[in-house]
């Protein structure tokens, strides 16, 4: 065993030399590198200090770096091994900062090919850090030799450096494939691993070669566990890409499964992980992988337990039933000293638990929930939310548990997540509403977080009037007016007004309370009380709907921007709120995504996402490059992306339809997937259906390989001819092709030739012209529509292709592009009749209200009633459905 100890004297002041190290002093000291005879005893500590300072985050200017780099090259005179190795480190560290680093190439090449084995490997790695693509050719011969060198360190260093270099000069490195092939057969485990990595990197775009490589390597047993892990990943990738290779007895899958019995735990885990994450794995194939993970759960090593429970957590999402076998082991992990493991175990259990085990599990969690930190409590709460959605009948137990948690100590984030969960449960499960609201009422009696109290009051105002006994909530709300700070008082006033507008028999009492609030000390509270009290005094239903019950539909950020613009450029006309785009209604998928994103440890402390901007606002900015776009007015709606080609074709084209009041802007996103072509003047030629007028065509000037560009077409909707706005357009992609060199992307000639490419037909549907609008109180709007002279159209249809009510509800809502109101998009289980309520807005601003009565017989029979101020729109909708 070698010793690394220094002299006694140096030992005493050891460490202090690195305290308060300053860049300037170190650079000063580095001058001794330039002395004629190099003294390693003096130079090594100085160089160490320099590297330490850089590692601490000191930044050198290019000149400083170059100066010290050149001084360092003088140290090559010394034969001291440590110093030489430190110089290599210095070269690597400074290679990106200093200029003219290639000056040391010859010194390094000499060391790399020399006799001193301790230098050679490190010299190769240092050399490759200063080499560029052109220089690489000069040392190519040495590199090839080094890869197959008998010294394993040299071979490894050469392979690793080759992989680094392949980013700069892929073509040169590709020529070393034979040497790499030879190195795979090496006896040294690390050489084998590195060679496999390099080989795969060179071959990865050539599927056939990868298949051969895998076939060969799976037969010869690799010694290095790292290499086996790598091979498992390659095999899994092959399996995933290639569906036909599937089948239970695929040699690839068998290989991975065999790895479950490998002697190294690392390999066993890698194999289990791969099996679990393969999309094609069936629950039966999952069993051996799971039993391995189950074994790991009981391991003494925290890392192994963590890896196992994390993977089980993933499985719980795709195959919850399969994980139940491990439940007992997971329950033991709930009390693990590593909190990450404990939390993952709980969330997994909650995901997989059967309805019958919920009670027991909740009891178990209750015993230790007070011991864990807020951060983990939030994760538990999120798991409970998922559970409540899965087992609606268990809401009683869960609700009690949540309310107990609410009463405990905790920060805002924790309390907010509990309140959120209760709110979700209330919205999702009508049976839980009364008890949930009662818990929340109790909570705001003693709530220190203003924002939370305001939210709950708002919810009470929205949901309270619809319960059996609205009057019981008034007391809770009015208590807030007496006891709390102004912002809560204001929220309480608004909530009371909701009761007044929805429950006529409470109106008189509410008016008395509002009258008291008009004496409040705070302006906002007084203003709100006066406002609501006056509207309620008029006893006009339509005023109630518009100013009390329905919230503001427009996007707040857009309103702010529009108002700012208006103030900066005052116009004659008063500000029109209709010109502000409506707020986007989150689609069910987005909501889903949000819920999925929560409850994952990975996202903890990740970057904070910017506040959501509606898609339309995003596009509005993008579209502003089209000349004359401002005259079209505000963007009304952007459709989802429609693919006009298969995704694997030469040119990949997708379309987004932007609808304005009287115009349609089609955005074509094109991707050129041919590496030997440069496209210019790319545009889409349309054959619009009758009545459409083509106004403008904005081509995409250049479309190089693997880049996407957009071209646009502006059309005017047929005037006064609504039925014809729905139609199918033929489309052809037209462009000028220039052949070019795949490597550089530069065209061979300046001359190009015209070419075209057929696209699939583009359909303009009714849904493209309708925006979803959320109505808090659909019934009121429906009644009001009748009294205000809306046209009503009614028709009955037989939807023979539908077999369930859910299916029918989904397809009607998406076909018409309307927003389901009052949660009628959820069909209660086992019912054969259902009423779907929809609302939306046609371009131009006309409201649309639709009621669809569905009955399930053989197919689905539907009676559709449409109310809209514009007869043409109502007719269009009834005719479009048929």
């Amino acid at each position: 065993m070698n010793s690394f100890k220094r002299d006694k004297k140096e030992e005493e002041d050891g460490g202090s030399q690195f305290l308060n190290l300053e860049k300037t002093t170190v650079l000063q000291e580095a001058r001794i590198f330039n002395e004629t005879s190099v003294n390693p005893r003096k130079c090594t500590p100085v160089l160490t200090k320099l590297l330490y300072a850089i590692n601490q985050g000191e930044t050198l200017s290019a000149k400083e770096a170059t100066d010290v780099f050149f001084a360092m090259t003088k140290l090559f005179q010394s034969k001291d091994a440590v110093l030489r190795r430190m110089v290599y480190l210095g070269i690597k560290e400074l290679s990106s900062l200093a200029d003219d680093v290639i000056i040391v190439t010859s010194s390094l090449t000499k060391d790399m090919t020399g006799k001193e084995d301790t230098y050679r490997a490190a010299a190769i790695r240092a050399l490759c850090s200063i080499t560029d693509a052109t220089m690489l050719q000069a040392i190519e011969r040495y590199m090839k030799q080094a890869i197959v060198d008998r010294n394993s360190a040299v071979s490894s260093a050469a392979l690793v450096s080759s992989l680094h270099m392949s980013k700069l000069a892929p073509d040169v490195v590709k020529r070393w494939v034979n040497e790499a092939q030879e190195a795979v057969n090496s006896d040294n485990v690390m050489v084998q691993y590195h060679a496999l990595g390099l080989l795969y990197h060179i071959r990865k775009s050539d599927r056939l070669a990868v298949t051969k490589l895998v076939a060969r390597l799976t037969r010869m047993s690799l010694k290095s566990p790292y290499a086996v892990c790598m091979l498992i990943r390659i095999t899994a990738k092959l399996l995933e890409e290639d569906d036909e290779a599937g089948g239970n007895d695929s040699p690839y899958f068998n290989f991975i499964e065999a790895c479950l019995r490998h002697k190294s735990e690392m390999v066993v885990y890698e194999a289990a992980h791969a099996i679990v994450n393969l999309k094609r794995t069936t629950s039966r194939e999952l069993v051996p992988a799971l039993s391995v993970l189950q074994l790991f759960c009981g391991s003494a090593k925290a890392t192994l337990r963590f890896a196992a429970v994390r993977t089980l957590n993933q499985v719980a999402i795709s195959h919850p039933a399969a994980v139940t076998a491990c439940n007992l082991d997971l329950e033991n992990l709930i009390t693990d000293s590593n909190r990450s493991i404990a939390t993952l175990a709980i969330t997994t259990l909650l995901k997989t638990g059967a309805e019958s085990s919920v009670d027991r599990l909740m009891k178990q969690i209750a015993t230790f929930v007070s011991e864990i930190s807020d951060e983990f409590k939030v994760i538990v709460v999120q798991a409970i939310r998922a559970l409540a959605l899965k087992f609606p009948r268990k809401h009683g137990v869960l609700m009690n548990f949540l309310s107990a948690m609410l009463r405990d100590e905790g920060g805002l984030e924790y309390k907010a997540s509990i309140a959120d969960t209760i709110i979700t449960i209330i919205e999702d499960n009508p049976e839980a509403k009364e008890s949930g609201l009662a818990h929340l009422c109790e909570f705001i009696e003693d709530c220190e977080h203003v924002s939370l109290a305001v939210r709950i009051l708002h919810l009470l105002g929205k949901e309270g009037p619809k319960t059996k006994q609205p009057s019981r909530y008034i007391r809770f709300i009015y208590n807030r007016v007496i006891l709390e700070c102004p912002s809560i008082r204001a929220a309480a006033v608004s909530a009371m007004a909701q009761f007044g507008a929805s429950c006529p028999d409470l109106l008189e009492n509410i008016q008395v309370l509002l009258a008291r609030c008009q004496m409040d000390s705070d302006d906002e509270v007084r203003d709100r009380a006066t406002y609501y009290s006056n509207i309620l005094a008029l006893q006009d239903k339509s005023l109630y709907n518009n100013y009390i019950l329905d919230p503001l539909q427009i996007s707040i950020t857009a309103l702010e921007r529009s108002l700012k613009e208006y103030i900066q450029n005052p116009e004659e006309q008063p500000f029109d709120i209709k010109s502000v785009p409506l707020a986007a209604v989150p689609t069910p998928e987005e909501k889903e995504m949000k819920h999925k994103a929560e409850g994952m440890l990975v996202t903890q402390g990740g970057p904070v996402k910017p506040p959501p901007v509606s898609r339309e606002e995003n596009f509005a900015e993008k579209l502003s490059i089209i000349p004359g776009i401002q005259q079209l007015g505000p963007l009304f709606k952007s459709s989802d992306v429609v693919e006009l080609t298969e995704s694997e074709t030469e040119y990949f084209v997708r379309c987004i339809k932007h609808c304005f009041n009287n115009h349609l802007v089609l955005q074509f996103d094109c991707l050129n997937t041919l590496s030997d072509q440069l496209l210019e003047q790319v545009r889409v030629q349309l054959e619009p259906s009758e009545g459409y007028r083509l106004l403008l065509d904005v081509p995409c000037p250049r479309l190089p390989y693997n880049e996407s560009g957009s071209c646009y077409v502006v059309l005017q909707f047929p005037e006064d001819d609504l039925p014809n706005t729905v139609g199918t357009f033929g489309a052809v992609l037209k462009f000028v092709v220039k052949d070019c060199d795949p490597a550089t992307g530069l065209p061979d000639t300046d001359e190009g030739y015209d070419d075209e490419y057929m696209l699939e037909d583009l359909e303009i549907t009714l849904g493209d012209q309708i925006r979803r609008v959320t109505r808090a109180n659909w019934a009121a709007a429906w009644e009001e529509a009748a009294t205000e002279g809306y046209t009503e159209m009614e028709d009955t249809y037989s939807l023979s292709s539908m077999h369930t009510l859910e299916e029918a509800v989904q397809s009607i809502a998406s076909f018409l592009g309307l927003q389901p109101a009052e949660r009628t998009d959820r069909v209660p289980e086992g019912k054969t009749v259902h009423t779907l309520l929809l609302s939306g807005m046609f371009r131009g601003g006309a409201d649309i209200l639709v009621r669809a009565k569905l009955a399930l017989t053989d197919g689905v029979t539907m009676q559709l009633t449409v109310r809209s101020p514009d007869p043409a729109i109502a007719e269009l909708i009834t005719s479009a459905v048929g």
Partner: protein
């Protein structure tokens, strides 16, 4: 946590750090340019990591989208970071190699002062374990043999009595503290 198949690549390690018991960096290397590109972000991450790990001796934690395995001794904390989907056992093998190498270099005397005294050798060892995110060697024996360059050690027969006594005392101290 979406299901993730791991991309077959040698670039496994995102970072290595050795911190002292105040959470200050002694040595740290980050290998992925997309993760903590500046020294300021790196140090902020290290502070956060240290705060989360220095009390609970739990071996593994997920932080800022990275899986971090760690190990501590007296006044030193060793960390190895990989992507959140990485095989934890691979990361652990690298951490063990780092720790064992340092321990052998310092003759089981794993503490801050000793690391700073042999900082050059520790730097070389780190360089021998991971190069640009690729594991070069995970066997501490071979790492140490490659950086064992000083020839100034004295065979045990020629050591003075005081030296033998000193080293025996140290060995005893560490076996007690362990």
């Amino acid at each position: 946590m979406e299901g993730y198949l791991l991309e077959p690549t040698l670039y496994t390690i995102k970072g290595i750090a050795i911190l002292d018991n105040d959470g200050n960096r002694i040595l740290a290397k980050y290998y992925d340019k997309n993760i903590f590109p500046t020294a300021k972000e790196q140090k902020a991450f290290e502070k956060n990591l240290f705060n989360k790990t220095h009390r609970a001796n739990a071996e593994i934690i997920m932080l800022d989208g990275l899986t971090c395995v760690y190990r501590s001794n007296v006044d030193l904390f060793f960390y190895v970071m990989g992507s959140s989907h990485e095989n934890e056992l691979i990361l652990m093998s690298v951490l063990n190699c780092l720790y064992d190498s340092v321990s052998q270099i310092l003759r089981k005397n794993v503490e801050k002062r000793a690391v700073l005294e042999s900082l050059d050798i520790v730097m070389l060892a780190m360089d021998e374990i991971v190069d640009g995110g690729i594991i070069i060697d995970a066997d501490s024996g071979s790492v140490v043999s490659r950086v064992a360059l000083r020839n100034d050690d004295i065979p045990i027969g020629e050591q003075t009595v005081a030296q033998v006594f000193q080293s025996a005392k140290e060995q005893l101290k560490w076996s007690l503290l362990k």
